[in-house]
Symmetry: C2
Subunit: 354 residues, 2 copies
């Protein structure tokens, strides 16, 4: 399976690099595109679905940015393999659950991924570490431009790009950032922050998108409006709002350390110690402790631990990743043991303590 190659190294978006990477895990831009001479995915036959997939794969092979992408055909995959791609943020849960010919084309460092036959014929995703919305958009915009020379996109001069769901019509663009907000959670200001976010017609979701609860105090914030504003304006709107949230998070962290440093240090050290020594741990507990450890490193409470390591563990302790790493299927109880072992191994040698 081509996805075996993906197991070894995490995607670039987990690198903990880029501006504001202490708070901004990743920036993501997604463009929805459809082929003019085909029905929308929700209405196609199996045959037409196959035709669409083939057309897109052909188009990719003829463009300079597209030809190096690794195409993963989801149809023959096991459910565990598909789940792995979801955990990796390469496909959506909708595409995981869907049927028929569908796939995802991924570049080497996973900064670009094109889902084929998800809700739309093409969903092009750019994702990068830290606050890099413009850079992410540039990468995906270039690919989009190239593909538009070989694919006939469904486009209306007045409305813009036509999409299966009206909420995506226009630019077809969804821009989001993944934020780590433990300070706002601990100071109980998170609801207030999110009310302001909602007032700006932005949406808040958890690490794994729509309908998933926020775990590890990670929140994905994205635009709702896709029409009536340019791509650059949409990005700038989100970015300026996010600057405010990031500042609010920074102030909350400072406040926490002023008011009750012992409590924060206690939480951070306990989390770190538990991750270093637990023999059985659930995904939820692991994420909660990882969040504390991430905060502890940012605040200088813990010895330096590579942000890349922490970000990676968030994803690699998810069930499918864990089973890929272990090389076998594991029941829930065995996963909890394997997860604890994986975390101990990853944190070994990181930030030596007494």
């Amino acid at each position: 399976m081509p996805i075996n190659n993906l197991v070894k190294t995490p995607g670039q978006w987990l690198m903990g690099e880029g501006p504001q990477s202490d708070i901004v895990l990743s920036s993501r831009v997604r463009l929805a595109r459809n082929l003019a001479r085909h029905h929308f995915v929700g209405r196609v036959s199996d045959t037409e679905k196959r035709e669409i997939a083939d057309e897109v794969r052909d188009a990719l092979s003829t463009t300079s940015s597209g030809k190096d992408l690794l195409y993963c055909d989801l149809e023959p995959m096991t459910s565990l393999e598909r789940r792995f791609l979801v955990e990796r943020h390469l496909i959506s849960r909708e595409q995981e659950r869907g049927g028929g010919a569908r796939g995802v084309a991924v570049n080497k460092d996973e900064t670009v991924a094109i889902m084929v036959n998800e809700e739309d014929h093409l969903r092009m995703q750019g994702i990068m570490s830290g606050m890099q919305l413009h850079e992410t958009f540039s990468a995906i915009d270039k690919l989009d431009d190239e593909l538009s020379t070989v694919l006939d996109y469904a486009y209306d001069d007045k409305l813009g790009y036509l999409t299966a769901c009206p909420t995506n019509v226009g630019t077809g663009m969804r821009v989001s950032v993944m934020l780590h907000l433990p300070g706002l959670v601990m100071t109980r200001h998170i609801e207030k922050a999110f009310r302001a976010v909602h007032d700006h017609r932005l949406t808040v979701r958890g690490l794994y998108g729509e309908g998933t609860e926020a775990q590890g105090e990670l929140y994905q914030i994205s635009n709702q409006i896709t029409i009536g504003r340019s791509e650059t304006e949409i990005i700038e709107d989100l970015r300026s709002m996010m600057d405010g949230v990031i500042e609010y998070e920074r102030k909350s962290r400072e406040r926490l350390m002023e008011v009750d440093a012992a409590k924060v240090e206690d939480r951070v050290w306990r989390a770190y110690a538990t991750l270093q020594h637990a023999r059985v741990i659930s995904s939820e507990e692991a994420m909660s402790h990882l969040s504390s450890v991430r905060l502890g490193v940012c605040l200088g409470i813990l010895p330096k631990i590579d942000m890349h390591t922490i970000n990676q563990v968030f994803v690699y302790t998810q069930p499918a990743h864990l089973q890929r790493v272990e090389g076998r299927e594991l029941e829930a109880e065995a996963r909890d043991v394997a997860r604890a072992g994986y975390i101990r191994e990853k944190l070994k040698g990181e930030g030596k303590v007494n």
Copy 2:
């Protein structure tokens, strides 16, 4: 204050020495005695109470075993100092709360302590590490014999020693062992074990005696019967019953490791890690983790940690000990911070891990 000397080193009973010291923390023998020509403590005037205290102190100074004892007068002490002696198992909570002339005479390693004007005029205690009931009795019996040559004990040829409470009449002896029973607690067999103990007319209490809840899975088991049997018979009764409980605990530990080693290891390592790294910790939580660590060392899960260290931390993290160690009075919140610091310091270097 003479008790300043006590702070530095813990009593011998915390040494973790002696037979079965993996399960038996300590053995204790207490003799109740009263002076024939005085009212019982419950009925004395302040003046008579003072006379009794003086008579006992005089008697002690004339006997070879008694003259080296350190006499601590409880009357002028602060409540914190009295609490310190309770935590140390040198005086009872009843004597702590009482009024008027009263005190405790203690030998250097704290294996012998004589409370004066507690419920009875004299309550002589012998306490030693591990299962050493006979040795403990010998030590206190020798002192009792010597004192009987200079003090006129209230004694009835038919009933034996006369005491304030009828339940102590006869030998005036209470024999107890302090057991660490995490295996029975974890396998949920503790209630069954205690039913058998009660059937043998033995009493179960917590680390700090009557009315205190069992913390740290430490249980004090003692005889109820003081009349109709000789001292040696009472000791043998308790000992043979305790052999059964100890065996039951050992089997429970073995069973735990056979059935769910990962769960036990997880509990032990988390406890150890938490104690090594927490910045704020309550007495209850500390005792619970210490119990797990003690079990982990016995089962070979943790690297070797001196049993003496663990036993000592059980006592030195109690509120009054903690404040003595810190050399100042502390509010509850500050105690939780100081306690965490004390434990980290004590466990530093003990049992190095990855």
